[in-house]
């Protein structure tokens, strides 16, 4: 199931027996501009199973964000194929929601929290009554009741990121692509949102691809962690986390297996 770098033909055989993956990448390369001879991503191949929580870690400049933009359909690869549920990704789709790190730029400052969440439903052509009902439900689910009629800039960073996640959930996506969503938040808010996200992902059965530069966050959240190496961006290692769920901020992080993963990832990111 887990595939790493290298020869494309070999890898395809390895997954032939399993069910259609949620996402499938084969030999994906990306480069910016024709003149650049060193690609940002070099022949990246992996699958993501339906319902899986996949974390991707790597040093800055390893192409993490590029990889996510490719999966979202906001960018096209220079070589290789990307598939979503068996068909090629040709552009953005509401079935694949993306959560940006810079929530302040991703929210509409002239719309209230409710209005921002409703935008996703307007895009999907939901009727006015249907929108009101679903927005109300999402506001409750994300703990935004007191902020519902406020504007994003009046809220804390954690609350703004909750709004963005609520807007993505409104799309009813089958895949959530998250680009360092908690990277700009303080440690306590980050831990709270990590646990909320795990609960949400389990409840909705949604597939998550979660990018982070924080390797502890990657181990804590993920079923699997892919480590990218930089220059060019490629898969250095894949780790099956196999820590019991539901996870706990104290006990999970103290588990010997967690620490073992942490040592291994730390070493990889240091370049050993």
């Amino acid at each position: 199931m887990t595939l790493i770098g290298g020869d494309v033909a070999d890898q395809s055989e390895g997954v032939a027996a399993t069910a259609t993956p949620a996402l499938r990448l084969r030999g994906v390369c990306a480069r910016f501009g024709a003149a650049v001879n060193r690609p940002v991503l070099d022949r990246v191949s992996f699958d993501v199973c339906p319902g899986e929580f996949l974390c991707i870690v790597g040093p800055s400049g390893c192409g993490k964000t590029t990889l996510l933009r490719l999966l979202a359909g906001l960018m096209k690869p220079s070589a290789g194929t990307l598939e979503f549920e068996g068909s090629a990704i040709r552009g953005p789709s509401r079935a694949r929601a993306i959560v940006f790190q810079d929530y302040a730029n991703a929210l509409l400052p002239w719309r209230t929290v409710e209005g921002n969440i409703a935008l996703a439903l307007e895009g999907a052509g939901v009727s006015r009554e249907g929108r009101a009902e679903r927005v109300c439900g999402l506001v409750k689910k994300m703990g935004l009741e007191t902020a519902a009629r406020q504007y994003p800039q009046q809220l804390s960073g954690g609350m703004q990121q909750r709004v963005q996640i609520a807007r993505c959930l409104a799309q009813q996506p089958r895949v959530m692509l998250m680009d360092e969503p908690f990277g700009a938040l303080d440690a306590i808010t980050r831990q709270i949102l990590q646990d909320e996200l795990l609960a949400l992902a389990a409840e909705q059965g949604v597939t998550v691809v979660f990018i982070t530069h924080d390797l502890e966050e990657a181990i804590y959240l993920g079923d699997r962690v892919i480590v990218l190496a930089a220059n060019p961006g490629r898969i250095a290692e894949t780790i099956d986390v196999r820590l019991p769920r539901p996870r706990n901020q104290l006990t999970t992080r103290e588990a010997p297996q967690f620490l073992a993963h942490r040592h291994r990832l730390f070493g990889l990111l240091q370049g050993h």
Partner: protein, 245 residues
Amino acid sequence: MERLWRGALPPVLILALWETSARTGAMTYASLSYPSAIVRAGANALLDGSLLLSTWQTCQAALLGLALGSAIGVLLGSALGLSNIAQRAAGPTFDAMRAVPSVALMPLSLLLLGWGLAMEVSVIAYSCCWPVMIATSAAVRGVEPRLLEVADALELTPLARLWKIVLPAAFARIGVGVRIALGIALVVAVTIEIAVNPRGLGYALVLAQQSLKPDLMFGQILWLAAIGFALNAVLSMADTVRGAP
């Protein structure tokens, strides 16, 4: 308070000197009138309704022209801002058209539309659409790229993308263009009325001048200044309202 007093002193002194020199007969102002006569003439015109009628005519033309010109400007500016092809294809044409002084179009629009509201509005709209177009095009190009990606990710239709994301995001900067256009609208309206169109404050000014009523003429000029001041005040109020979320 004291500074206000000092600032008001020179104009008050000049007015007092002007008034007393005219009253005592020390100077005669055949074509200049004097303050109290100007105020009286202005008040009379205000009370008999003639000033209000011409004010209505001028403001009607200016605001209709501004509205029409702004709508066209937003439309053209959005197209130029959203599409590089449109920018390359139509940009030079608009630059050339913009270079034509709008008042030079008065004879043409008079020929096409005759005297009246329509010709005045058309010339004002022509003058107003350019600053709005330029402001809109720049504003649309300056929209936060992340918001456009959000629009892409939500698969918004091109129209929804423009209406729900691009124009609201560009709104404040388009407003700057509209503000500039408002000043232009008033100037062009009065100019047209003075030059060719027999209606509004501009025409009233010409009539007062030609019938040798300098007091009324000065009264109308003061009135115009008051209108300009009031419009500016309304716009800066709109500015502060827009500043709040």
